[in-house]
Amino acid sequence: MRSDRAPLGLKVAAIAGLLFLHLPILLIFVYAFTTEDRSYQWPPPGLTTQWFAVTWNRPDVWEALSLSVRVASISTVIALILGTLAAAAVSRTRFFGRETISLLVILPIALPGIITGISLRSAFNLADIPFSFWTIVLGHATFCVVVVYNNAVARFRRTSGSLVEASMDLGATGFQTFRHVILPNIATALLAGGMLAFALSFDEVIVTTFTAGQQQTLPIWMLEELVRPRQRPVTNVVAMVVVLVTFLPILAAYYLTRGTDTVAGSGK
């Protein structure tokens, strides 16, 4: 019964809402090509690609990018392991603390990032842990667990429990069952969860400011530029690249889970 037409007002409001969500991001793309380098003047007085070359030759951008990629990669791996384990445990049985586990996993993103950040900082402070690559990873992995967990739980729920029993019934031990049945069935969900975790970590700034010390991830670098602009065109170019880089894993995650996760809510 979806053949009926939407009221015009609703249609206009919905499309206006989508434009509101997307136009600001598109604006970034235009600014990356502007010739103006002192203000945010609109419309741009001229267009140029010179800032891409300038940005390419900035070692601080490369260093920040490299740190972000390394942090995101390690955090994603940790989140994949922890999130999958938690999802497997929760979906396997109805044990006593399941609700608590779900809450505990969601808490790091449900509470404002500043709380996670300052909590970790207080803990490092009390325990005399100096800031390092690993203090950043510690924070990132903590809030990345939830995206992997959510993806994996949804897939486990759809993967009938009798598949595991069928495998063991046919002679496979627990580990063989994991390798031949569970893993192939949750692989795309894990891949999707991992990509989202990567995107989440790659972007994160609030928690990172509290756990990074003097190190600069790419978002921290951008934040510095926003607070104290040094070379605005370089910031514009970096912003555009960040948008493009994060879109790819999101699109990939969408196509990986398409037909399973999205169709589930679409009704008939």
Binding site: L21, V90, G174, I206
Partner: protein
């Protein structure tokens, strides 16, 4: 053993370590659960809850006003400081901002969510899905930055008003005390717009999820019973979407309460909770007061979540 005549090596004769472990886990299914849940529980329990506890502990310490050193004695004096007028101001200002952002987000999100849930099919369904997911996941800082570009005096909004010869209108609006300012990028309105923008997708998704569970026949039944579209909206649609709106509001409210970057980049000099926490722990070095400030959003959210849970909002997450 299952097919002794076909398998080359019977697993019974020489079980390897993996098989032995598998046997043990079969005999003790609880051990398997414990092994599965152990690592994530340990991580979140030690790293996250431990850190939260450290934060809580710090908030009961105080700072020596002369030496600037932390005194490790339990005291409530740091919490008492929260009730000083300028700190209370910060809390009330932040809660007011969070509340307005939440209400506005619900209003803007509803048509998008409703259209996506009920009218979008096939190709449009995918467009709407990605159209909400991409802004949700794209870089937070970039989004804030985009609004710095938009709201700047020389930026696209100013240009738009000028082109339409409406600059006087913008200036009149900015002259309103409280919500105005020198330019949009240093006004309360600017902060509000950016918050609305960055958290909007968090509201759309749960509302859409809630609305997708409403069978269209239910709306037809309402129309059939003589309700005008407005009445159906008020008496059927909004009550059914409410759990989704509450679920979304958990995000918009919580995220606004704790944010310190948006008001720092776009906004007035009046601080919000997040900025206070950041400054007290950073430049002021007053970690106890920062911790006590950070407890405020936790308490507010605890109350909020408790109410939301009673309204059944978690089913829509």
């Amino acid at each position: 053993m299952t097919s002794a005549d076909t398998s080359p090596a019977s697993p019974v004769t020489a079980p390897d370590a993996a098989t032995r472990l598998s046997d043990i886990l079969w005999r003790r299914p609880r051990l398997l659960i414990a092994l599965l849940i152990g690592p994530p529980l340990a991580w979140l329990g030690i790293v996250y809850l431990g850190a939260l506890f450290a934060l809580l502990a710090q908030s009961f310490f105080s700072i020596d006003e002369f030496s600037g050193q932390i005194r490790y004695e339990l005291t409530l004096s740091t919490y008492a400081e929260l009730f000083r007028a300028y700190n209370l101001d910060i809390i009330l200002r932040t809660v007011a901002m969070a509340a307005s952002v939440t209400v506005a987000a619900a209003i803007v999100a509803f048509p998008i969510a409703y259209y996506a849930a009920r009218y979008a099919t096939g190709r449009w369904k995918a467009i709407f899905y990605l159209g909400i997911m991409l802004p949700l996941w794209s870089s937070y800082l970039v989004k804030v930055y985009a609004w710095k570009l938009i709201l700047a005096k020389e930026g696209i909004l100013g240009w738009l008003f000028e082109t339409l010869h409406l600059t006087w209108l913008l200036e009149a609006y900015l002259a309103i005390p409280g919500i105005g300012g020198n330019s949009l990028s240093v006004s309360w309105t600017g902060t509000f717009l950016v918050f609305l923008y960055v958290w909007l997708p968090f509201m759309i998704l749960p509302v859409q999820a809630a609305l997708e569970r409403v069978p269209p026949s239910m709306l037809e039944a309402s129309g059939d019973l003589g309700a005008r579209p407005g009445q159906t909206l008020r008496h059927v649609l909004i009550p059914l979407a409410l759990p989704g709106i509450i679920a979304g509001s958990i995000f918009t409210f919580s995220l606004t309460l704790g944010d310190y970057i948006v008001p720092q980049i776009v906004g007035t000099s009046a601080r919000m909770i997040g900025q206070a926490v950041y400054q007290y722990q950073g430049t002021a070095g007053n970690i106890p007061l920062a911790a006590a400030f950070a407890v405020v959003p936790i308490l507010i959210m605890a109350v909020y979540l408790w109410i939301a849970k009673r309204k059944g909002a978690f089913d829509a997450l």
